[in-house]
Symmetry: C2
Subunit: 209 residues, 2 copies
């Protein structure tokens, strides 16, 4: 059971009390288990998900490879859903629950309505677009100009700071998928890092030093 108090804590970027009430009234909590598909490619999207707890991975698949768009963390929403709701489009991407995840589902009809009525909602919408753009630009720059070893380090560092632990559970294959390369390349680089004393490798787990 999720209490209203917890929900309100996650949407503290909403300043108008009236809007808070509306959100609690019209939003519905949906729960997903690890590995559940939340949105399929091509599916029409009727709700906007705001993550209350857990983590959602949003990605596209193109010719048997995945392109990671972004993760949706608590207090955030999915830009692609936002856009799809807005224009009543099909979703161009897939969303997957990475862990047990609870979302607050807002029916799409409220999105533009609230944008007009509530400043903080409109801010939320615009910030979501801008944030994802900046993230993508970051990724783009690192793909364009950095070597893979640097990207691996950056990825691990980000994971470390997100989860407050130096042990990162991920297989070489998964890491390769995240960075858009192959398993052999990742194994090679990680081994080198281990020899340099930067980390220790365990099965499906990387321990940062």
């Amino acid at each position: 059971m999720i209490f209203e108090k917890e929900i309100l804590k996650k949407i503290d970027f909403i300043t108008e009390n009236e809007l808070k009430e509306e959100i609690l009234k019209h939003g519905e909590i949906l729960s997903f288990k690890k590995g559940d598909v939340i949105v399929r490619e091509g599916q029409y999207v009727k709700i906007l998900p705001i993550v209350i707890s857990g983590l959602i991975r949003v990605f596209q698949t193109k010719e048997d490879r995945e392109i990671l768009l972004y993760y949706v963390e608590p207090s955030q929403t999915c830009m692609m859903s936002l856009s799809a709701c807005f224009f009543n489009n099909q979703s161009p991407s897939q969303a997957l629950a990475m862990t047990q995840t609870d979302i607050l589902a807002i029916p799409s009809r409220f999105i533009t309505q609230w944008q007009k009525q509530y400043n903080s909602w409109n801010n939320f919408v615009i910030k979501t677009f801008r944030k994802r753009y900046d993230e993508l630009l970051d990724t783009f720059e690192s793909v364009a100009f950095d070597h893979i070893d640097k990207r691996v380090i950056a990825y691990l560092a980000r994971r470390k700071s997100q989860q407050e632990s130096t042990r990162i559970k991920i297989s070489h294959q998964q890491l390769a998928n995240e960075l858009g390369t192959t398993r052999v390349v990742i194994s090679r680089i990680l081994k080198q890092f281990e020899m340099d004393g930067k980390l220790v490798l365990h099965r499906a787990e990387i321990e940062l030093l």
Copy 2:
């Protein structure tokens, strides 16, 4: 002199007559010559530019290299300006007039106001964000997964369709900057294409066949 009729033609995505009048009333036409800097990095942005004629190049500079974000064509606006106006931020990027360019400058205070009042304006705002995101994603994918020769061809094809001519005025060095690589690589690839009979090279100009 730019006539109201021409302006209205360029903003035909605006459906409300009332808004059209407001735009004509509060917007101001600004003209730039080829090469003029329209926005500097770090500058506060007080107006939203809608291009009436010409072309604007929006890019960032990082450690002596340029990162092209996008071009703003007639009827379009600059996402970065939109975002900067919205949050009263400094512009993280530079904008440069590629040719003689006329813009319709909308004072920033109207942006959110009109978003609330006019659906077509809000659509314009959201579409701008989404469009630039999609473009960036496209570029990202081609950088991540395509070889440079394919990217060169794609770049030339886009330029061709934009300007309705098979002769593209660009030097190898400029082309290298656009694609984030070096002159030698571009010369090498273009020469190969010429030998394959796909194009003819002239000085600072490429003729597509």
